[in-house]
Subunit: 391 residues, 2 copies
């Protein structure tokens, strides 16, 4: 295990009806004038926005609002939000929505108190200061409610990039599983895939002797495998929603990723897909991750076999561990199919002729060093090969 | 899953040599005059205390010191610490040691800023205010480095009681697994048992549909089962120490206990043993917990069978689940024996004739309602029966 620091100071409020305490928590964490940031109409139609406003008003907290966050949230709205916050002297950003809304809220919160262009943070500058952000989560997926991360897409060139920093940890997050019950099955499944991907990015490591984090990652994966089919079958299964929602937070606040090298090349490859085809992040990951696993399996067959045996219940073939390893990847594919996720690049709207562009942008887009990943270092050619496995 | 809040704002600094950053973190969290609180001579002899002092001095932080914390820390030293802190205008308490030292430091920190008798907190008053506490952990066991809890023994009557409150969460905790390498095997094993007991107290619940926390608890238990024999065999196994140390924190900061009823009757029964016989807490738990399991097994055979199958690897007997359940308890007993833990009350210095007193004090000592536990509600007679199973 490597040396690490871990700091997750978010106050989590979990359970039924807790969105009605939003005002209480904004007050506790020092907010007096709030930007309510949200996405589309469902937050309005469901009455959630009204309940949140009522809770703020009951606590004498003023607010302005900015809706319209899209999946793969755009820099344009972030600039609007920054301007609005400055004009209205906002001192607290409250995100009501999923990962996209929270990520957009974080970008606004950092931009308001920064003199330069907020995009600097998405080109590698660490986020050290931001307005406090609170969240009311409506989809279990991105884990942004407990993470120090945010991903934004810049319209020019559709560049999708991430930023990170302790100032991006929400001061509070309200997680009411019932709010996720109205999600369509496809979006629910995308969320499930995203959560599992966050776990796999941490699981595949070259760091040795990390039994505790291995075991916790496996525990969260087994939770997803057990609970996801229940919500696909019955969207109103509150208890299964609750298990998924808490697992989604634990999967990405990094309590199970500490002290070990992490990979993250699949996320980078997916970012190119959702930037170019505007597909759902989870759907993109469902296509990328099994292909990445097949391509990298030989690097550490025993780690793949461990996953297959412990998580997917595949019998260990002691004479041919690679058979067990492969069975695990196949079990993952079958699981993704069973919850309605796409299997191929074509289903995402991708085309073979885009692959050279995708591979080049993935390899050189952000950092520009031509490589992705840590478990296996992937060069542009490897990345192209992996994209081809998705056809 | 039940509604819950979860707040674990401790800054964890994990790894080799990190005790040398103590001064940096005291400064970051606002300390300028520190009470260094510690136990016996090993902290002095090993040079740890000198390294900590050097780090404080290098950061221009003044300090006073108070050693002498005993296992099952006493109220007498807490009163001394409070007086010293007031006299010296201390604004930060730094615990260098194990759970006893940290618990004593927490009590001092709360007592300094409280006008009444600090013991009020241990009679049920919630802790809402305290000086900031930092910790440098030297034994993986109590989990006090990440918990909002403290247990103190009052000399008059040897009453051992707990207090709790968010103000008791350390602002930072430094966890260097190498510091635990000098521990005798017996103390290491006591720590392992304590960590496992924290997990069992949460595992045995009547709350339904708690897959995510069930799985995480099981993950941490399997970590202990895998890693503990390594450190018993080779005390210098840094990696195994590291896995145990992080598992010990996760086992008790409550990330795996949220949203579910917890039991805690075994801890209450053990507290009577260590108060009366002054045995190590972990050794007491090694005797209490298997007996408690045998006594309560019939209440939920399938939960015991799940534990036996998933954690201990016992084959599921689908026709006779109680056989699987019992095999799990037997596996736990064998494990405890293998790491050198006692099996009986007699080995702890206990006597059959003390049982009526122990049972009565356990049932009526603190809260006075005559009952212990939530998984199964135990009355005085049940408690006596369980103590008898330990003979």
């Amino acid at each position: 295990m490597k040396n690490f620091t871990f700091f997750s100071p978010t106050y989590f409020v979990f359970g039924k009806d807790e969105e009605n305490s939003a005002g209480k928590y904004v007050k506790r964490f020092g907010g007096s004038k709030v930007l309510i940031h949200y996405g589309g109409g469902s937050v309005v139609r469901s009455g959630l926005l009204d309940r949140v406003k009522a809770s703020l008003t009951a606590n004498d907290i003023a607010f302005v609002e900015l809706g319209g966050v899209l999946p793969n949230p755009r820099s344009g709205l972030v600039y609007q939000g920054i301007e609005l916050c400055r004009k209205e002297n906002v001192d607290f950003v409250l995100a009501v929505g999923g990962g996209s809304t929270i990520d957009s809220a974080k970008a606004i919160a950092a931009g308001v108190v920064y003199e330069g262009d907020f995009w600097d943070f998405y080109m590698g500058k660490p986020v050290t200061k931001a307005l406090p952000v609170g969240t009311i989560l409506t989809i279990a997926a991105a884990g942004s409610e407990g993470s120090p991360d945010s991903v934004i897409t810049k319209e020019e060139g559709m560049l999708k990039r991430g930023a990170s920093g302790e100032a991006y940890r929400p001061v509070f997050s309200i997680l009411n599983p019932a709010l996720t019950q109205t999600l369509p099955a496809y979006q629910t499944a995308c969320g499930v895939t995203d959560i599992m991907a966050h776990l796999f990015e941490r699981y595949f490591t070259n760091t040795q002797d990390v039994e505790v984090t291995d075991r916790v990652i496996e525990a969260l994966l087994m939770t997803m495998i057990n609970e996801a089919p229940k919500v696909i079958e019955n969207p109103d299964d509150y208890q299964a929603r609750a298990n998924i929602m808490w697992a989604g937070m634990l999967a990405h606040n990094n309590c199970c990723g500490v002290g070990r090298e992490q990979d993250w090349s699949s996320h980078d490859m997916e970012h190119e897909l959702s930037a170019l085809y505007d597909c759902a992040h989870g759907a993109g990951l469902a296509v990328v991750f099994p292909a990445w696993m097949e391509y990298t399996m030989q690097h550490d067959v025993m780690r793949f076999a461990q996953l297959a045996n412990r998580v997917w219940g595949c019998a260990m073939d002691f004479q041919h561990p690679e058979r067990t390893a492969k069975a695990g990847i196949q079990a993952f594919r079958s699981f993704l199919k069973s919850i309605g996720m796409p299997q191929t690049l074509t289903e995402l709207g991708g085309k073979e002729e885009d692959i050279p562009y995708l591979a080049h942008t993935a390899a050189y887009g952000n950092e520009g060093n031509g490589c992705l990943g840590r478990f296996v270092e992937l060069k542009e050619e490897d990345i192209a090969n992996i994209y081809r496995l998705m056809l």
